[in-house]
């Protein structure tokens, strides 16, 4: 069951502009906007959890939360201000609808494993650059070996990792026992198919490629 729609996808650019004050949108915003939209518009149910591990460039996240009525639209303009609940990295104690505070890379996936172990269907968004952090791989290895099927990771790959992932990100998850799907990170139908693909008792990763 998708969360009730408040505003539509076509409203997102305007919401992002309200946040950043700039009509030209930053690369880190553009890379996650479609994935976040598909998650909130088509995939996430009320009992699911979504953990944004890659807390950088959260304008897309806040815009989607605003479109879905979780963040008041009128708060977007205060982005980053002293009394704003919307900072450059999200704080769950401040921002409504935000499940975890993030910003330092490589933390969300470990927390997501704990949330999934607690019985929740859990989605976690990471970036390809973020995967440089070794802490991610502790989580990837463990979730794969124990068959944590309630966990789905979306790895947004905009080729920002300096040393790259030769052979692809998916191959590394596959080696650790994950189910892997690839999707164009801007293709909503492809993303939906990949995110909802059957993956039995294995954790699932969707590598969403977004060309820089």
């Amino acid at each position: 069951m998708a969360i009730a729609t408040h505003l539509g996808y076509d409203d997102l650019p305007e919401l992002v502009t309200a946040l950043t004050g700039d009509e030209k949108h930053d690369r880190s915003v553009v890379s996650t906007l479609d994935v976040l939209w598909v998650l909130y518009d088509r995939v996430l149910g009320r009992d699911d959890r979504f953990l944004l591990s890659k807390g950088h460039g959260p304008a897309a996240y806040y815009a989607v939360l605003a479109a879905k009525g979780l963040v008041p639209v009128e708060e977007l303009a205060g982005f980053g201000g002293f009394d704003s609940r919307l900072g450059y990295h999200p704080d769950r104690a401040l921002a409504p609808g935000v499940e975890i505070s993030s910003g330092s890379l490589g933390h969300g996936l470990g927390i997501a494993v704990g949330v999934a172990l607690a019985g929740r269907r859990t989605f976690c968004l990471v970036g390809d650059g973020e995967l440089d952090e070794g802490s991610n791989w502790e989580a990837v290895q463990y979730a794969g070996r124990i068959g944590l099927g309630r966990l789905t990771v979306v790895a947004v790959d905009n080729h920002s990792s300096t040393y790259h992932w030769p052979g692809g990100i998916g191959a590394r998850f596959e080696l650790e026992g994950w189910s892997v799907a690839l999707a164009d990170g801007h293709d909503h139908d492809a993303l939906e198919r990949a995110l909802t693909a059957e993956h039995d008792d294995r954790p699932h990763v969707v590598v969403a490629e977004v060309l820089p």
């Binding site: 470990g110 927390i111 172990l117 802490s135």
Partner: protein, 305 residues
């Protein structure tokens, strides 16, 4: 039964009796625990150990996390700061090894700075119990809450538990006598060191939050001596806060901030750090002026011999 054995028994009981309790281990302790559906061994992955605990806490569980001191406090320090503290969730972190229980294992297995670094983060209750019965008391209390609690187990143990929370005055000296505060397992040696000295001796097993008012009330003279079984000076700033409006002197005993490249027995480390009865006694005598400044305390002599 050691503190560590008592803890395993208590944790197993808590998993059985309280559906809110979960436990996350990174190999250490697994062999001592009965299997349980909510006991998760993540392998040798301490960052994940804390992250998983945080995720469980976000979903309403009360996670117990346990390992050797450096591997539960230092290796995953940013996870402790962010996954627990910044997410505003709690857990019970239980370390074993204290400062130099692993004296033969060397520096890699020792973390006498554990209390200092955890105390640098907001919201932690920190216990350094001196007896297995005290472990049971603070652990039982921690299970009922949802806050961040650190319990520091030690192979050094006092011969009897001290009943009562907070600062417990065990012996009253004269109005001029120094107030000697022994923390956790440092009590035994402190009592031996002060047996025939004019000193007020108090005991403290819960060092954060620090009992500012109780310290102020217990001090009749001007001299305070902290005997902490971990990094020297860990609670010095707390004493300054407690006594901000009165003149006082402070001596902070504990494990020195130094790369200490010796193996051997814990008792040898204790003596070398001046934390055995003779070392504490020598430092105390110098503090109260019985030994002229400049003369080496016993501990220095021991360390060089």
């Amino acid at each position: 039964m050691t503190m560590r054995e008592r803890f395993y028994s208590l944790a197993a009981g808590a998993l059985e009796s309280d559906p809110r309790v979960a436990m996350v281990l990174a190999e250490i302790g697994v062999a001592a625990m009965p299997r349980h559906p909510r006991l998760y061994n993540v392998g040798i992955r301490e960052q994940l150990m804390i992250g998983v605990a945080a995720g469980l806490a976000l979903e309403g569980y009360r996670p117990i996390v346990h390992s050797y001191t450096p591997f539960v406090v230092e290796r995953p320090y940013e996870q402790i700061k962010l996954d627990l503290g910044h997410q505003d969730v709690g857990a019970i972190l239980v370390s074993t090894g204290a400062s130099y229980d692993a004296s033969r294992a060397g520096r890699t297995h020792q973390a006498p700075e554990d209390v200092a670094v955890l105390a640098a983060l907001p919201g932690w209750t920190i216990h350094a119990p001196g007896h297995a019965d005290e472990v049971e008391r603070v652990f039982a209390k921690a299970l009922t809450g949802d806050d961040r609690v650190y319990i520091r187990l030690s192979e050094e143990e006092n011969h009897a538990p001290v009943n009562g929370d907070g600062l417990v005055v065990l012996r009253e000296g004269s109005d001029e006598a120094p107030l000697v505060v022994a923390v956790g397992p440092a009590l035994g040696e402190t009592l031996a060191a002060t047996a025939d000295l004019d000193a007020t001796v108090a005991y403290l097993a819960t060092v954060r939050p620090f009992p500012h008012e109780a310290l102020n009330a217990a001090l009749r003279g001007t001299g305070v001596v902290l005997v902490e079984p971990y990094l020297a000076g860990t609670s010095a700033a707390e004493v300054s806060v407690a006594l901000a409006d009165r003149p006082h002197r402070l001596l902070s005993l504990g494990v020195p901030n130094a790369e200490f490249r010796h193996y051997g027995r814990p008792a040898e480390h204790r003596a070398a750090h001046g934390l055995d009865a003779a070392g504490i006694r020598a430092s105390l005598e110098r503090f109260v002026g019985r030994v002229p400044a400049g003369r080496a305390p016993v501990s220095d002599t021991v360390a060089k011999s």
